[in-house]
Symmetry: C2
DNA sequence: CTTTATCTACCTATCGATAGATAGATAAAT
DNA sequence: ATTTATCTATCTATCGATAGGTAGATAAAG
């Protein structure tokens, strides 16, 4: 019994892949439609406007990320282990030369995105910041640590440069440096 | 006697402003043309294709950046002073919420850009890496320092996150941390 | 006369989006 | 059980807007 994946989910998944590769503005309904084997007009049935698609992409991404963060918490890791797992989440999103974290590319485009999409990006970052804050709260001292937003900026920048330069060098260096500050 | 700025330069300058705000894909010939008060078709006289405009934007940006780096060298700064000046160059490019380094936004879009533009971005980064290497060559020890590409990734990421989140927090943190590694 | 720089006018391709038709599933009414 | 109505998900066809790009006229400068 092979489960039939709902078209709506197929669309979201195809769109995310494309957006992560080339950005929101460079993706068209027709691109996504042909990926999943329907017509572009059918996408409007599920997502009336491109903005709606963008909003669902970014909120879905945030929710899945949030779930992964909770999974990390459930393992009751040390702060160092938590950060290590956090970095691994970003690492998974990086495919050199073709894909970065959805919110890395969207935040670079932020000023040309529909407002609700831009808001969704900030929400994603806020979730990350809050989680990192809670990790830091469990530490005796936060001296020398990267600030939460600083960690995110370092990882996002490392992803973008790694993808553009087609080498993991920048990402690996950032990951190592962040982790090194935890005892 | 007010100097008449050549139209070609006006076009480049207007285009750069727009690209830095919203990205390459989100900028049209008509946008740029209306900025400088001509018709979009006239831009094709100076830059036959959009790719040509992009190439000149990125090479011009690199050349000006390179010149600024040489100006820094002429002041014979200490490594720490050199890095400080380097960070200031990036700082100048950051206008919260509306503008980042041209190559920050272009590298995020890299996979959807004409090839010669993507190459130009890598050239820009290479110039930066080479210059940073020379600075590090003058140091007794490079232990603990950010690697050249790591510095660039940190600054680019900090710019993008700062612009998207509408706060300098990430950029200032990155600048401080990089500088702190120099004695 | 040629070159330079711009214009008007237009082209083709594509964009996001809408309208209307259709086929199949579901459900309620008779 | 049959009919009627509604819902779901897609299609075809088309819209107006805009994209990048081209052709040819024009006017000024050398």
């Amino acid at each position: 019994m092979s489960e039939t994946i709902p078209m709506r989910d197929q669309i979201l998944s195809a769109a995310e892949k494309r957006v992560r590769a080339v950005g929101f503005n460079a993706v068209s309904f027709r691109d996504v439609a042909s990926d999943v084997g329907i017509k572009s007009s059918s996408i409007h049935y599920h997502f009336p406007q491109k903005e709606d698609l963008g909003v669902h992409l970014v909120t879905g991404y945030r929710e899945r990320f949030q779930a992964r963060l909770q999974m990390i918490d459930r393992r009751s890791p040390s702060p160092r282990e938590a950060i290590q797992a956090f970095i691994l989440l970003y690492d998974e999103a990086l495919v050199i030369g073709s894909s970065v974290c959805l919110c890395a590319i969207l935040s670079a485009e932020a000023n040309s995105l529909p407002e609700r999409v831009a808001t969704g990006i900030r929400d994603f970052f806020t979730v990350n910041v809050d989680w990192l804050c809670k990790v830091h709260d469990r530490m005796d001292s936060t001296a020398g640590l990267f600030a939460p937003l600083e960690i995110i900026a370092a990882l996002e920048g490392a992803m973008i440069v790694s993808s553009a330069m087609k080498t993991r060098e920048a990402f690996d260096a950032a990951a190592k440096r962040i982790l090194a500050t935890y005892i």
